[in-house]
C-alpha cells in the first residue's frame, strides 16, 4: 500500500501553491511598495530628547519620546507631502506607537530606538495611539500629527 494517496498528493501541491503565493505577495509588497517593518537602529542617548527637526521643505525628523502617560512632542505640525522619519523610544515602561491609516506600528522601549519613515500626502489630523498597556493612565495616552490643518501652528510650537 502506498504511503500517500492521490488526493493527498493533490492537496499537498495545492497547499504548496498557496504558501508560494503568500510568499510572493510579501516579497512583491516589499519591492514594489517599499512596505517594510521598522528599521533597526543602535541605541543613542540623543534620541531621548524629544524634538521636531525640519531637514528641508518636505523632510522632517521627529524624535518621539513615550512616557507614562504621554507622548513628547504631543502635537507635530508638518505640511502636506512631507516625508517624516519617526525615531521612537521610551523613558519608562513599554509603550505602543500606532499611527492609524499610515500603518506606522512600533513598540517604544527603554534603551532601544525604533525608526520608520512615512509620507503624509493628505491634510488632516493623524492620531498617535499608545497600544501597549503602560499602567493606570494607558487609555489617555494619545498624540497627533497635524498635516496642514487647520492653519499655521501657534508660534510657540516647533515647526
Amino acid at each position: 500500500m502506498s504511503l500517500i494517496d492521490k488526493t493527498e498528493k493533490r492537496v499537498m501541491m495545492a497547499s504548496g501553491a498557496v504558501l508560494a503565493l503568500f510568499l510572493f505577495s510579501v516579497l512583491y509588497a516589499k519591492g514594489k511598495y517599499k512596505s517594510d517593518l521598522p528599521e533597526c537602529l543602535p541605541y543613542s542617548k540623543a534620541y531621548e530628547t524629544p524634538k521636531v527637526t525640519k531637514l528641508d521643505d518636505s523632510t522632517y525628523q521627529v524624535f518621539a519620546v513615550a512616557q507614562m502617560w504621554q507622548f513628547q512632542p504631543s502635537e507635530i505640525y508638518v505640511p502636506v507631502g512631507s516625508e517624516v522619519d519617526f525615531f521612537v523610544t521610551s523613558k519608562d515602561v513599554v509603550h505602543g506607537f500606532n499611527i492609524l491609516l499610515k500603518n506606522v506600528n512600533m513598540m517604544a522601549i527603554y534603551g532601544n530606538i525604533n525608526k520608520t519613515t512615512v509620507k503624509f500626502d493628505k491634510p488632516g489630523v493623524y492620531k498617535i495611539t499608545c497600544h501597549e498597556y503602560c499602567g493606570v493612565g494607558h487609555q489617555n495616552m494619545q498624540a497627533q500629527v497635524i498635516v496642514n490643518y487647520p492653519t499655521e501652528p501657534p508660534p510657540n510650537l516647533p515647526r
Binding site: 504511503l3 503568500f22 521598522p38 519608562d92 492609524l100 497600544h131
Partner: protein, 560 residues
C-alpha cells in the same frame, strides 16, 4: 481500563482546580467587554481594577487552565495507551508544585500588586511572588514529561516494531515543545525578573526579556493546541462513527509542530526595535512553515468526517456535512470538537495575517489580535478542554453527565458568541482600536475629548458576543459541577474513544523516533534565535529600572 483510586483523584484535582478558577477568568472576560464598550466609565468594578481583571483573565485562562489540563489529559493518554499508570509520587509532586505556584500567582494578582498582564513585560514590575508562582507552575508541569518519557522508552524496548500510538506520540511531542520553550521563560523569570523585582539587580534589558518571552510565547500557542489536535486525530473520527483518513498524516503534522513551534516566535516582535529586518523576515518565512501541519490537518479531518458522513448514508458532494451527529447528547464530544474546528478556520486565517511581514503593521497590538486568538485558544482549545474535562470526569467517576441536552448545546452557543465577539474585535482592530485598554474611560466615553464614535459599533458587537460567551460559560459550570454533585451509578474507568485509521500505513521508522526531529528542531532554533539575540545584544542601550503601573517614577527613587 481500571485505574487506581490515587490516579483518579489526581486527575479530578487537576481538572477541578482550574475549572473552578475559570469562574474568575470568565467573569473578567465579560467585564472587559462591558468596560470596553463604554457601558461603564470606571477604572474598577466591585473593587477589582480593569487591568487587574485583565491580568487574571489572561493568567488563569491561558496559563493555569491550559497547563493543568495538558498535564491531566497527558496522564490520561499515556496511561490509557501504554496500559500503565504513571509514578504516583511524581504525579502528586507535579500537582503540588503547580498548585502552590497557582496560589502564589493568584494571591499576587488578587492583592493588586501584579497588574502586569499575562505577558508581564518589564520594566513594569509585579510582586516577586507572581514570578515565583509562574515558575513553580512551569517546573511542576515538567515532571510528568520525565516520567512519561521513562515509560515510553520502556514500552518501546518491549515493542520495537509497533507504531507508537498517535496520542502518545502527540503527548510526548507537545511536552517536548513545552519543556524547550519554557526553559527560556524560566530563565527570564528566575534569572532576569525575580532578582530585579526584589531590587537585587538594578536593571533589566527589556528587549532581551521580550525575546525570551516570545521564544516561549508562540510555542505556548501550540502547547495549548496540541491536546485538541490529539483529540481531533484520535477521538473525533470515532465519535463521528468514521475512521481517521490517514494515520501517517497525523504523525507528519505532529513532527511539523515539533520543528516549527519555537523558531517562529520572533514574528511577535515585528514591531520591536533592535531586531534587524532580516531576522524578522526569516521568522515570517518559518511561520508559513507552521501553516503546513495545519493544512495537513484540515484536509485529513475533513476527509475523515466525509468518510463518517458517507458511512451514515450521506449522498452527493456535500451531503456528508448534514449527516454528522451534531446534537447527539451521547456523542457530545463531537459537538465540542466540530465547533472548535469551525472557529479554527477563521482563527487560522487571521493568524496567517498576523504572521505576514507587512500586514503585521496594520494590526499589531490592535483589537484584531484578541479577535484572532479568541478563535484559537478560546475556540478549539477551550472547547476541547471543557468538553474533555466533563468527559474524563464523568467516565472516571462513574457519574452520568448532568443535563446532557444542555451540555450538547453549550459549544454551539459558544461558537455564536465568539463569532460575534471576534467580528467586533477584528473590525475594531482594523480601524485602530487598541487591545488591552480600558476604552470606557476615554475613547468610548462621550464626555471625554478622546471619544471615538466609530468604535461604538465594534465594541458593542464585542459586548453582545461576550454576553453570549458568558452564558455558555455559566451553562458549562452548571453541567460540570452538577455532574460532580451526582451519585455514582457506574464503575469509574479510564476510557477514551479510539479511532481506527482508514489508511493505516505501515510503520515508517522516520516518523516513529525522536532523534532526527530533535536535531532539526535544535538547528532551526539556533538559526532563528542566535541572530535575534545577537541583534538585541548589539543594539540595545541601558537596562531599565523597576516601575509600578501607577507611577512614572522608578521604584528605586520612590523608596529613597
Amino acid at each position: 481500563m481500571q485505574v487506581s483510586k490515587s490516579f483518579k483523584r489526581l486527575i479530578f484535582w487537576e481538572l477541578g482546580i482550574p475549572v473552578s478558577l475559570l469562574i474568575i477568568g470568565i467573569y473578567h472576560g465579560l467585564m472587559q467587554t462591558i468596560y470596553r464598550s463604554g457601558v461603564i466609565h470606571q477604572s474598577s468594578f466591585a473593587h477589582l481594577d480593569y487591568y487587574q481583571g485583565l491580568t487574571m483573565h489572561g493568567v488563569i485562562n491561558a496559563l493555569v487552565l491550559t497547563t493543568f489540563f495538558a498535564v491531566a489529559f497527558g496522564h490520561a493518554c499515556i496511561t490509557f495507551y501504554l496500559k500503565k499508570e504513571p509514578n504516583k509520587v511524581l504525579g502528586w509532586l507535579s500537582f503540588a508544585l503547580m498548585i502552590v505556584g497557582t496560589v502564589l500567582a493568584t494571591g499576587a494578582m488578587v492583592s493588586g500588586k501584579a497588574s502586569v498582564l499575562y505577558t508581564f513585560y518589564p520594566p513594569l514590575k509585579a510582586h516577586p511572588l507572581f514570578y515565583l508562582g509562574l515558575a513553580l507552575l512551569i517546573v511542576g508541569s515538567w515532571i510528568p514529561l520525565y516520567d512519561w518519557a521513562r515509560m515510553y522508552v520502556k514500552w518501546k524496548a518491549q515493542n520495537p516494531l509497533v507504531k507508537t500510538p498517535l496520542a502518545v506520540l502527540g503527548t510526548l511531542i507537545n511536552f517536548t515543545i513545552w519543556f524547550v520553550c519554557t526553559l527560556a521563560v524560566a530563565y527570564e523569570v528566575l534569572v532576569l525578573l525575580l532578582p530585579w523585582s526584589m531590587g537585587w539587580t538594578p536593571g533589566v534589558n527589556v528587549t532581551f526579556a521580550r525575546t525570551l518571552f516570545w521564544f516561549f510565547g508562540h510555542a505556548l500557542v501550540y502547547f495549548w493546541l496540541l491536546p485538541a489536535y490529539i483529540m481531533y486525530y484520535t477521538i473525533l473520527p470515532k465519535v463521528a462513527d468514521g475512521k481517521l483518513y490517514s494515520d501517517l498524516a497525523g504523525r507528519i503534522a505532529l513532527f511539523g509542530f515539533l520543528l516549527f513551534s519555537i523558531p517562529v516566535g520572533v514574528h511577535h516582535q515585528f514591531s520591536d526595535p533592535s531586531i534587524e529586518r532580516g531576522t524578522k523576515f526569516f521568522a515570517g518565512l518559518l511561520t508559513y512553515g507552521v501553516a503546513i501541519p495545519s493544512f495537513i490537518t484540515a484536509f485529513t479531518l475533513a476527509a475523515s468526517l466525509e468518510y463518517a458522513g458517507r458511512k451514515r448514508g450521506a449522498k452527493g458532494l456535500f451531503g456528508w456535512m448534514g449527516k454528522l451527529p451534531y446534537l447527539d447528547p451521547n456523542k457530545y464530544l463531537f459537538a465540542y470538537m466540530i465547533c472548535g474546528l469551525i472557529l479554527f478556520i477563521f482563527g487560522g486565517l487571521t493568524g496567517l495575517v498576523n504572521a505576514s511581514y507587512q500586514l503585521s503593521s496594520v494590526i499589531h497590538n490592535t483589537a484584531w489580535l484578541p479577535g484572532h486568538f479568541h478563535m484559537t485558544v478560546a475556540g478549539p482549545v477551550f472547547l476541547a478542554i471543557i468538553g474533555m474535562s466533563t468527559y474524563l470526569y464523568s467516565k472516571m467517576s462513574g457519574k452520568r453527565v448532568f443535563l446532557p441536552k444542555v451540555n450538547v448545546i453549550i459549544p454551539y452557543l459558544w461558537v455564536i458568541g465568539v463569532l460575534i465577539f471576534s467580528t467586533g474585535l477584528s473590525w475594531g482592530g482594523l480601524i485602530g482600536e487598541p487591545r488591552r485598554t480600558n476604552l470606557g474611560l476615554s475613547y468610548l466615553n462621550p464626555s471625554n475629548e478622546l471619544f471615538r464614535p466609530d468604535w461604538v459599533p465594534t465594541t458593542m458587537l464585542a459586548l453582545c458576543g461576550g454576553i453570549i460567551m458568558f452564558i455558555a460559560g455559566v451553562l458549562f459550570f452548571i453541567v460540570f459541577f452538577g455532574t460532580m454533585l451526582r451519585k455514582q451509578t457506574e464503575e469509574g474507568i479510564l476510557e477514551l474513544p479510539v479511532s481506527e485509521a482508514y489508511h493505516d500505513e505501515r510503520r515508517v521508522p522516520l516518523f516513529d523516533q525522536f532523534k532526527p526531529w530533535l536535531i532539526t528542531m535544535a538547528i532551526l532554533i539556533v538559526l532563528a534565535y542566535v541572530p535575534a539575540i545577537m541583534n538585541v545584544m548589539k543594539n540595545t542601550g541601558p537596562k531599565a529600572p523597576r516601575f509600578t503601573p501607577d507611577n512614572p517614577v522608578p521604584v528605586a527613587i520612590l523608596n529613597k
